[in-house]
């Protein structure tokens, strides 16, 4: 529907060589759930900044492969951009697409999401060390999203550092917290917003987050590093355009994104969705993407998940 609308707008007469943007911009969204909601908030705010409609169009499936392939094969004119994340690295290294992050021009990092490890309050564990001690006497079951997903990699890195071996149970559609409450898994590594309500109700306890510093959503939860397990893995979310998109177009998008992320309204809505706005300009974002890709590649090699 949005595309039909976008196509209609595209039919409006254009003045020759006018400045970007002249017509609706389509932002491909690769996943559902909270990432899609924040994408809609962003698209809405970008529309106001750019003065043209920015449509968040969902192209989910195959761990992001479908959406990335679509954007990559679109004309590099700034009218097709992608709401991307570390999934560009996981989906490439798991062998499901034949191009990597270099097929895209980085535009800007918009924010971060930090994985959190939660257990039931009645387990009695209050720190990672308690969990590790218990895991040495019996094999723990840990709920994650799909195998090879970013949270799987993060949990593998964390438990490797802790020196324990666990069973990874993959759940789709964000049902891992329910399985934790249902006592079928011992812990779950997911996004903080998924645990927030149960943490407030004292049913679940978050043992650690995997960022270098504590996060605003869970200020009382220590990082893994604070507890002596050196893990620094954070998911970034940002915008990218197909490779070859003109520099001035990228700069225009980057400037718009900068203003959106700085706006109080975007900060307020992000906080409610458990998303941490953290703007990075295109150049620094590009460096970050490349650095994370290398880290994910070596991690996936260690775990035997790297297929390419």
């Amino acid at each position: 529907m949005l595309r039909i609308g976008a196509a209609l707008i595209a039919l409006l007469p254009l003045t020759a060589h006018a400045q970007y943007p002249q017509k609706a911009v389509e932002m491909t969204v690769l996943f559902g759930g909270s990432s899609a909601t924040i994408a809609q908030v962003l698209a809405d705010a970008l529309s106001k900044e750019l003065g043209v409609p920015v449509a968040a169009v969902s192209r989910t499936g195959a761990g992001g492969a479908v959406g990335y392939s679509f954007v990559r094969s679109s004309p590099p004119n700034g009218y097709t951009i992608v709401w991307n994340s570390n999934s560009i690295s996981t989906v490439f290294h798991s062998g499901n697409i034949d191009f990597d992050y270099r097929a895209f021009e980085p535009v800007a990092r918009i924010g971060m999401e930090v994985p959190a490890l939660a257990v039931r309050t009645d387990s009695g564990w209050t720190a990672l060390e308690d969990f590790a001690a218990a895991a040495r006497s019996r094999r723990m079951r840990v709920g994650i999203s799909g195998r090879g997903s970013f949270v799987h990699l993060v949990s593998a890195a964390l438990f490797e550092t802790m020196g324990i071996d666990v069973v990874y149970v993959p759940y789709g559609q964000g049902t891992a917290p329910a399985e934790l409450l249902g006592r079928r898994v011992d812990a779950a590594l997911q996004w903080p917003s998924q645990f927030k309500a149960q943490v407030d109700a004292k049913q679940l306890r978050v043992l650690a987050v995997t960022s270098p510093a504590r996060i605003p959503v869970l200020p009382d939860v220590p990082t893994a590093k604070e507890q002596g397990f050196d893990v620094d893995l954070v998911m970034w979310r940002g915008l990218a355009a197909p490779r070859g998109t003109p520099k001035e177009v990228v700069a225009r998008l980057e400037a718009a994104a900068r203003r959106v992320v700085a706006s109080p309204r975007f900060k307020e809505l992000s906080a409610k969705l458990g998303f941490e706005p953290a703007f990075l300009p295109a150049s620094e974002f590009g460096v970050l993407v490349a650095r994370d890709d290398a880290a994910i590649a070596s991690l996936m090699t260690e775990l035997g998940l790297k297929k390419r």
């Binding site: 595309r3 559902g32 499936g61 479908v66 799909g146 964000g174 249902g182 309500a197």
Partner: protein, 487 residues
Amino acid sequence: MIAEALSPATLAATAAGSVVGLVFGAIPGLTFSMALALMMPFTFGMAPVPAIAMLFAVYSGGMTGGAVSAVLLGIPGTPSSAATVFDGYQLARRGEASLALGAAVIASAFGGLFSLLVMMLLVEQVASFAIRFGPAEIFALVLFGLSTICGLAERSMLRGLIAGVLGLMVMTIGLDEIDGVPRLTFGTVQLQQGVNMLVAMIGLFAVPQVITTFLERRATLSPWPGEVTAEFPWRRLRGYWWLMLRSSTIGTIVGAIPGTGGPIAAFLAYDHARRFSARPEAYGTGELGGIVAPESANNAVMGGALIPMLSLGIPGDPATAVILGGLLIHGLQPGPLFVQSNASLVYALYLTIVVSWVIILLVQIWGIRLFVRVLRVPPHVLGVCILVLCAIGSYAIRNAVFDVYLMAIIGVLGYLLQRLRIPLAPVVLGLVLGPTLEQQYRTALILSEGSHRIFFESPFAVTFFALTAAIVGWQIWSSTRRRPRTR
């Protein structure tokens, strides 16, 4: 609370949501999940009550709208209304389209309001019951659902089983949900995303029908009666209230279990209705119970799905995940403390759901007169319109042209199956149940580290296995008893 729920802004938002939902639900390919995502940005600037009321209204409207195209065109508007096609379309062909649509909308409202009542009174009880359904229990429930092939196989059980397996096989295409391994993708990215259930359904229901219309010109030149009456079916529904209540209960429970959803509930309710009917043979030929059961069940799923969402903060399906996003945007964090700490807001929202059902009933009952005029369109013209509509719908589901081709290919295959007298209903059942069946089975085995004991340690799972065995056993027994006579 009442003032907020009945304020002009909330009423307007509810009305707009209901109508948008109905339209999206009624058009094959445009689903209410899509409508929810589209309406979302409009809610950003609204006050919490009208914003959430609008999202709820889209959900209920969309679920109800699905029946319109199921009855009139024989194509489910949403996957949840696939089971409504079997009897709804047959009724329409007999000239009783308005009866079918009237029954569908009344059953829908009944199911929706029933599940709302359950949600208001028993939130915590239902949530703590639903959370006991893990992968092993859901697998057993879905396997039980698969045994309904026995009822959908029409004349030949062998052909029914072939059809069911074909449906299951189609759903294995793509990246598997657990390990991310590509299956039957021939190295293409497009097939990695798998076959979308609704794309396959549109192909299977619409294309064979259109091909038949064009090939067998004489036979279908006047399949529709000239006059379609618009009478209201209160009297005809008299014997169905008890069925509505049972189907709504099925829908509410299935909806409350995360990871199941509307299509599964609708099929379970349909089979339940047929099995306990005095005239099971009438099902599939235009029996009113075949509309009442799936429609009350799939609408009851909404209240059911909202139970874990509101009380645990866990969305059970993509539609409730969008609604959860809408709540979060307005600073409302559903969870164990949500209903208590926001009692007045929650009750205002409940009231808006009632309002949305009143609006849906009014619009639908008024609309029936209008909708049935579709049947006055000559079949050949209608056939072309249906094809165009299906192409647009298939594209819109995932914004992919590939899906349009896929719909056409599956449709032609569906036509060939029909010519081979292989029934299509079990194929649809396979599509609906296949992904859940596989995923839950494998997750259960990962949980148990490979031991099948997990399936026999749970009383729920064992109960469903026993029911499945009983149905299959009864089917074999009754067919061996019948065979000597027919041969």
